[in-house]
Point group: C2
């Protein structure tokens, strides 16, 4: 037979993708969205310092980026009070999750996550032939005890936990996460996704212990720093574990201007504080809009709010469809009972005006069934 | 044991990286290079249209990039006279080589390349547990017959061929490549790296046959388009084979501004023609400098020139070290007999002045041994 012989893992994979992006949805509907509130991007944009740094770096875009991201790694290390050898950069948390799975997971290996948690992580586990075990949320929070129990039962190599959580916006206390870390089974690594950490209460963020080889933490410039399109994420862990990424990563894979932008973004604490305030204001507004329509907003430690539509997943999906039909892009959780909610990202006042205007009609249509 | 359980493949990998980048070399030497002529970047930079497009797109960097790279894929398809479903974008050819290897290679799988060809490809083959077989160059050209014979002998899933070749700058005719394609064994895919194709004679470029599942061609905006730091490469192949990348790739991994820049670069044929002229002029200058110093420049269809230093690898390495000591960054082939050469990228007149000024001293030191 002429042509490729795919690996057994690849041959068995379905042709599914983790997400259909908003641009594709716009092409499918034949019109742009009026409010882009579905991808938890930061509509408030990056720091002007970051923008200027990217523009300046564009003049040297003919050069490959620094393959070790030396300056950015050292700035992050200083910022976090850890070593530069405790940090590896990657093309967003997505890219680093792929590398992490690749380092540890193959056929016959077990991985645990929450049912309805991050699909891209699941995509990579399947993509490397791992077996994924899901435990339910408990009261809209990830359930650390259930995750641990399942990990013990199946001998998991990885547990995925997002704190704060996406898609629910809920959070665990630092003490809860630390208790989970203390109870990790032998040979099990906690993949702690902290994409939204800049929006979270301080007492939800465990202190760094970079002597612990069992914890990998993932952070990003895509959310609070407003640079989702730049693709800059980082993983934090024990130095020997971080060194292992050198064996598999795309060494010259980081965009040069993106690195410069991230470095500048780190310096602009005032901008970050402003985004945090704007996001808090937007969350309050989303909550008020929800309540005005008889819906219940869930508490959020992120840049989005999950809104309980008060019925089942079918109803929430009709609300979502009604919003999309009016050009308001939002998403929703994937599984019951969390799929009774829709998830709205913190928008500009104008975007939230559009959401407020569209919601009553979407609800009316949904109620007609 | 607390901590990760790496896969057997990863546990067995050495901690080597494919390349030490120029920024790291500059940090190691404690001074910037005066001439950056070692990474085959395009010192002539991107089209001004591409620069403007990137700057404009930076204003929307808070948005994730289009995960399907729809506009860029369609523009490339139109340009090449193929379908958009024959193209997949990735973070440079490097990222796409990784995905390609991952799709087809695991433990027990055989891969063939030339001894001294692209180390990053070899890195990914090792990284996925494949077994790499190397055949020698023949007269400084990749040897298609030897590659085919080895592939038949070992039952290879992949053959890597760069045309034009890096690091030698040599090229094969389209007829030679087409003959190789016609003779591919069953179940063997040709990984045809065309990173330098824009610098090559037309009669070295085979026509596209996107009905053939046995050929994957790789191109990039890093070389002629002057956007190495942006990380935009693409693979071209039969639609079903290209569709397989959806199963493994980092769907939201492409920088948004980079996509916009690449799209604009494609429109600027005048700039491309100018870069091609500037590169040709630079190649002539490098050749003249080589001859002025009693060295033999090899013919090149790329944006660099391999210069035969007239002795063995040890001698060429001393020349290279002597150039680096004077702030002139160049590289050299890795294996004998090609390692009798050093490889100099097409530079600006000022950079080549620096090379011309440094070479006599580097040669004198090398001759002292």
């Amino acid at each position: 037979m002429r042509g490729p012989r795919f690996t057994d893992i690849v041959a068995a994979l379905p042709p599914t993708v983790p997400f259909v992006g908003p641009e594709q949805m716009e092409r499918d509907r034949g019109a742009p969205f009026v409010a882009r509130l579905g991808a938890n991007e930061s509509v408030f944009g990056p720091s002007p310092l970051a923008s200027r740094a990217m523009q300046a770096a564009d003049a040297e875009i003919w050069k490959y980026g620094d393959s070790t991201s030396f300056d950015l790694r050292h700035a992050l290390a200083e910022d976090l009070g850890i070593g530069a050898d405790n940090i590896v950069l990657g093309a967003g948390i997505d890219g680093l999750l792929e590398s992490t799975v690749r380092l540890m997971v193959g056929p016959g290996d077990q991985v645990v996550t929450s049912d309805g948690a991050y699909p891209t992580f699941n995509f990579h586990v399947a993509g490397h032939g791992g077996t994924l075990h899901r435990v339910p949320y408990r009261d809209d929070h990830e359930d650390t005890e259930a995750l641990l129990a399942k990990a013990r039962a199946v001998g998991a190599k990885l547990i995925y936990l997002a704190n704060p959580d996406n898609p629910m916006g809920s959070w665990l206390s630092a003490a809860q996460v630390e208790a989970m870390i203390a109870a990790l089974p032998a040979g099990c690594v906690l993949v702690l996704d902290e994409a939204y950490v800049e929006f979270a209460p301080e007492d939800s963020v465990p202190a760094f212990d970079v002597t612990d080889p069992a914890v990998l933490r993932f952070r990003t410039f895509s959310k609070a720093h407003g640079m989702a399109g730049a693709r800059v994420g980082y993983a934090i862990g024990q130095a020997d574990v971080i060194a292992a990424y050198e064996k598999v990563r795309n060494h010259f894979g980081m965009n040069r201007s993106a690195q410069a932008g991230a470095l500048a973004a780190l310096q602009d604490r005032a901008w970050l504080a402003r985004v945090q305030r704007d996001v808090a204001t937007a969350r309050d507004r989303i909550a008020a809009i929800a309540r005005d329509n008889g819906l219940r907003p869930l508490a959020s430690a992120t840049n989005f709010v999950a809104v309980d539509c008060g019925a089942d997943g079918g109803f929430a999906r009709r609300v979502l469809t009604g919003l999309l039909a009016q050009g308001v892009f939002v998403r929703m959780p994937f599984v019951a009972p969390e799929d009774r909610c829709i998830r709205i990202s913190a928008g500009t006042p104008e975007m939230l005006d559009a959401f407020a205007a569209a919601l009553p009609e979407a609800l009316a249509v949904a109620r007609r069934g």
